[in-house]
Symmetry: C2
Subunit: 378 residues, 2 copies
Amino acid sequence: MMNSQQTIGIVGGGQLGRMLTLSALPLGFRVVVVDPSEDCPAAQVGAEQIKGDYYDEAALRKLAEQSDFVTIEIEHIDAKVLETLAAAGVKVNPAPPTIQMIQDKFAQKEFLAEAGVPVAPFAKLEGADDGAKLLQQFGGKMLVKTRTGAYDGRGNMVVASEQELAEALERFAGRKLYAEGFVTFEKELAIMAARGADGTVATYAVVETKHERNICVEVLAPAAVNTEVAAQAEAVAKQVAGHMQGAGVFGIEMFLTSSGKVLVNEIAPRVHNSGHWTMNGAHTSQFEQHIRAVAGLPLGDTALSVPAAAMVNILGEGNHPTKLTGLAEALAVPGVYVHLYGKTPTKVDRKMGHINAIGETVEEARDRARKARKELSI
Amino acid sequence: MMNSQQTIGIVGGGQLGRMLTLSALPLGFRVVVVDPSEDCPAAQVGAEQIKGDYYDEAALRKLAEQSDFVTIEIEHIDAKVLETLAAAGVKVNPAPPTIQMIQDKFAQKEFLAEAGVPVAPFAKLEGADDGAKLLQQFGGKMLVKTRTGAYDGRGNMVVASEQELAEALERFAGRKLYAEGFVTFEKELAIMAARGADGTVATYAVVETKHERNICVEVLAPAAVNTEVAAQAEAVAKQVAGHMQGAGVFGIEMFLTSSGKVLVNEIAPRVHNSGHWTMNGAHTSQFEQHIRAVAGLPLGDTALSVPAAAMVNILGEGNHPTKLTGLAEALAVPGVYVHLYGKTPTKVDRKMGHINAIGETVEEARDRARKARKELSI
């Protein structure tokens, strides 16, 4: 260990914490993570681990004591504790009030709407009567969402009848809910935006994201959209990032509606799956960028370093001990980079790793990434 | 830890082992290193460490027991033990006889000369009379070198008089020696060549290397040489790699003489300082390439991913506890990537890290790397 080494503390040591660690260590930082899993993905690549839950106040306090800079890889954490720590002088980024606002999806939507950011129509949902009215108001189809604790589709339900409304209310009984008008979209878009300690905002290329079962499966960079749409998405991303507090990388997920309008779907106050392509397709990866931002270092170049890049997630296809096969075949595909997370066991739809591919065109990059993905089994 | 995970065993856990580890873990491998230093650079980024010397037979055997693939990050190791292990079925790459041949610089020169590879004139040096004859034969100036254990200039001495010859013989008393004609060179060049498990050879761009006090200080990729010289260097590198046994990345250091001829100076049977630029300037870094090669995976693309790249070493400038300053200033220089090795304490000329920079031209990349280096203190 270095003397006088600065320490980055991360709440969460999953794949995002792992890739943050892989970027932080070569910059001379020590990394400590709070994570409940034995030998978490970040610990496997040199982070020290404080074993504890993201809501474990003692663990979070211990993290802060050991860290010069505290950040998160997941927003489902105890933001109140982080706020107390920040008030006591700990450098926490992004700012705990921003994390807290984003945790509550309804508050997030209100925040965005108040800031003038285009979003789908939404409203608080307090009961069956309320729901029936909203269903009518939103044209007969809406999303019922839990306000907190939802990700990768957990906590979301599409509702198109009073019957389905009743099912949603039963499934989410006891949770605070809100409803959103169902947006028929052309494409899902995303932009990773970095906010430096001095408030400078740098955005990456707008990308197209594809989801299955509400999980991100594929990202194409840059998105095949016209310049007007790209400019709109970039402007919206900059607007959102400008309203965030504190430094860090933010993932801004958007819909492109059939009428060519960009609406913000949701924000992640952290590195995000839709930015994994930057590891091999941009001059600065989102992970190094986040470390730079939270440690008060200048932001790096966000430009594409290749004509096009694609990312395909490696999702578990069964429940069994992890066993990697097909790596040689995957790496035989030109322009392919494999990033595994060291998770075990394999579970259905568990994010086990991802494949990045580069190419002269998005189609070439996508085909390469898909081909490599097919060769791999884990 | 993954189940059924394959393990790469590396003899040596210094900066090269560290960067090999950083490439191996995302490909799903577990890494174990043998290294004598407490918390060695590779162990800091997730390698498991067997504490032991590179000549510690028990440690090397333990490494082999735990590993599916064994390789090296340093050639000053017990090649005999590796040969015994290879004979017993352990996959050791590159092949121990090749490592052993390279360990003995005189044997290396003989091997190259026999293979028809152009080298400077050289001869065994057995005593003062012998030396005087050679000094005359080589035109009054020669290098006296120890046959084994020499690196970064240790074990080399320039001799231009009988007085200096006597000094060299005294300094290296008891060591096996040889002498080499002193080559007046235009430039020093290097090529990293990868040899796949199937014997396929892939070479990286020819680069210019600069040394001070016999230590590599700067690398420029690609080298500013005409196409004829570049072709000559590439042909020589391919010839050398074709004669190596086993898989892996090899560093081939060359002189470009004032008459435009390329001579091989020496070979490293491993990743090498002159290939660090590939981390940010080539489609596949030398570290991932070496892992691919020794694990029997297909080789990656060796092409430059940018117009030009440069590497500047971060050498210690004093003897004191490690303390990094100036990182923000260094990262404010466009196109700069910082790679630190986690070593402590700082010592004069100790390799503490390196800076890579990319640019539109080699001059731009070099100026960026140098500027960033000046900002950093460690």
